[in-house]
């Protein structure tokens, strides 16, 4: 095994291989290596992936539909039902929860009271991979003027959910005042917020790339005028703007259209910061000596942009995008919270928080705040990953003087 004559196990040659790997590693690979060494960033990345996946697979992971149609009429403002394995009546391999009933009788002075049945027959066992409400992925319904041009892509429909109970419904995070399952709503809210964030960041990025790119590459008068426009847009106060826009949105618009509109507006407000960053990167890169070297060979602008400028700031832009994501999510949350953003049935954290402002909720139904923990985790994960990426992409770490 550890044959002394086996040169491939020779520490000197493994060392050589490592060094050679370092020498031939491209910039992207080097950044990835550095990123991997950063424990908090790596942890943040895992958390982020888990949250994003749970958002994408929300319909599968949650037992019920997050809208009104999935509500539990018998369990309004219900407390979280945590499955357990054992209780006074013995243990069971299958986790179970208790049935709760709302009754009203003489004993309770005719007030509605929720009684939890902890007897053996009150147990409701968890089942896995149950059939439930339907959900569809990748289905598009295009409505163009003229009947002949309408078409729809049916997409994929499933109805399996990860878990459910044999009788009634299970609410592991409790329910809200109309009986909607908070757990289901939380995961779909993550999905919605990520979608809003993605569209917003995407729009902001395209605009920032065009405007910041032209500004940074050409400089001079074009740069100054574009910068004036950028600064003007940046100083528009967002809350009054949204109030105006919210008043402008016609009621007839569906929730989905409203959702798209809000995302677009967030993107249109968010581009100035990104544009400024792109412009700065370009201005720095443009004056690098290797760019001049290419120009002295007679390279055209498109060659310089393609071969030198774009690759050089890809890593920075990715960092900027990752860092602006949480701002989009938080802006949307704030707007929906004050009622200017999304509305039911489209569901996001802001929408869910609309109902927490009464003392009743604060005192009695604290489980309404569980989604907040998810969102703090999401935003923090983005921040850790963004910081880690930025540290990894640090340009000063590979010049040895």
């Amino acid at each position: 095994m550890n044959d002394m004559t086996d040169t491939s196990n020779n520490p000197a040659s493994t060392d050589q291989k490592l060094k050679e790997a370092y020498f031939t590693a491209s910039q992207g690979q080097l950044i990835w290596q550095r990123f991997k060494k950063n424990k908090s960033a790596l942890f943040g990345a895992w958390v982020l992936i888990i949250l994003i996946l749970s958002g994408i697979f929300a319909p599968f992971l949650t037992p019920y539909d997050a809208t009104i149609s999935g509500r539990d009429k018998d369990y309004l403002n219900g407390a979280p039902q945590i499955p357990s394995f054992c209780d006074d009546n013995g243990c069971s391999l299958r986790p179970f929860i208790y049935t709760s009933e709302r009754t009203r009788s003489i004993e309770t002075s005719f007030r509605w009271v929720t009684i939890v049945n902890t007897e053996l027959e009150g147990r409701r066992y968890l089942e896995f991979f149950v059939e439930g409400s339907e959900y569809t992925y990748l289905s598009f319904d295009i409505n163009l003027p003229g009947e002949a041009l309408d078409f729809r892509i049916p997409g994929f429909t499933f109805n399996t959910h990860l878990f459910g109970v044999d009788k009634g419904m299970i609410h592991i995070f409790g329910t809200d005042s109309t009986g909607k399952d908070i757990y289901s709503r939380t995961l779909t809210a993550i999905n919605t917020s990520m979608a809003v964030g993605t569209i917003g960041v995407f729009i902001a990025f395209i605009m920032a790339l065009v405007i910041g790119g032209i500004s940074g590459y050409y400089g001079g008068f074009l740069d100054s005028s574009l910068q004036m426009i950028t600064d003007t847009v940046r100083t528009i106060p967002s809350i009054p703007l949204f109030m105006a826009l919210a008043a402008f949105i016609p009621d007839v618009w569906s929730a989905e259209t409203r959702f798209l509109f809000i995302s677009m507006v967030l993107g249109l407000i968010g581009w100035p910061t990104l544009a400024r960053r792109i412009r700065t990167h370009l201005l720095t890169e443009r004056s690098q000596e290797y760019v001049l070297a290419a120009q002295l060979c007679g390279a055209s602008s498109s060659h310089v942009i393609r071969r030198h400028l774009l690759p050089s700031f890809t890593s920075y832009i990715i960092v900027d995008l990752v860092i602006s994501f949480p701002y989009m999510v938080l802006s949307e949350t704030a707007l929906s919270f004050i009622g200017l953003g999304l509305k039911d049935p489209v569901n996001s954290l802001g929408v869910m928080l609309q109902n927490v402002t009464s003392a009743d909720v604060l005192l009695n139904y604290q489980w309404y705040f569980i989604p907040v923990i998810f969102f703090i985790t999401l935003v923090l994960a983005f921040v850790f990953v963004g910081d880690g990426l930025r540290d990894a992409a640090d340009p000063y770490s590979d010049s040895h003087k």
């Binding site: 031939t24 590693a25 491209s26 070297a293 002295l296 003087k401």
Partner: protein, 332 residues
Amino acid sequence: MSDDLLIEARDLSVHFPIRGGGLFGPAVVVRAVEGVNLDIEKGSFFGLVGESGSGKTTLGRALLKAAPISRGSVQYNDGEVQHDLTKIDGKALKDYRSRAQLIFQDPYAALSPRMTVRDIIAEPLEVMGLTSSREETDERVREIAAKCRLNLEHLRRFPHAFSGGQRQRISIARALVSGPRFVVADESVAALDVSIQADVLNLLKEIQQEMGLTFMFISHDLSVVAHICDHVAVMYLGRLVESAPTRELFAAPRHPYTKALLSAIPSLDPDAPNIAQKLEGEIPSPTNPPPGCKFQTRCPYATDICRKEEPKLEHSSGEHEVACHYWQDLMD
């Protein structure tokens, strides 16, 4: 233009306007290069020395059409084509680019960190369309890399794997791959350690002799220039003050600035007599040069004539030219 000359420049000037005239005061112009006449012979190693603010880098770039020529003429003739650099553009400029290249000073900034060495060296070939296939490109890259003493395995690596001296060799390879006739080396060894500097200088000399190139070597380091150049021109505040074959310039400098420059170089002999003519003062600002001779503010021999009239570059002997009113009187 004589057949031996590769580059002939007459009254070459490069001005950069900082501010137009008008409301805020008179127009401010930086006269980086002013009225320079020089001849560069084919196959020679031409040295251009000066301190900071002398305009030597700008002059080098102007000869490559990388800085705008405000006045004067520059003719290029390598025996195959002729170009008038003041009127060149479009296709002619592209052709000139393949014949005239630049080696930068900073080996760390001159190479794109995101490209492999092979791609960096191949870039001029690809941009100028000088090869027709990838194999041909690779072949030429390998050839020039070998000449610059780079191993084949180096071609797959990225610049971060190399030291300053090695990076400079990559820079040189990139400048030479397109087969230029004229190479400007702008302070190309200034950022290197002494032991590596000698190596790179020897390489440049070797390549020049092997490939029959003409080099213009810009430097502030007179000792380096003395060893490697055939002919040296000295610049001060945008003007050429002296120009002579190397041995002659160093043995018998005629301009007071050149003399002061030479005596300021610290000798390796601890007991060398301190013959230094220490120059007082600093170089004037290029936006507001003094009238007359630009050196008069620091020249120990300046007289009224120097303060009024700017001396022209005139022949003193053979190929030795000086721009000073009193060069004859000051001859040792």
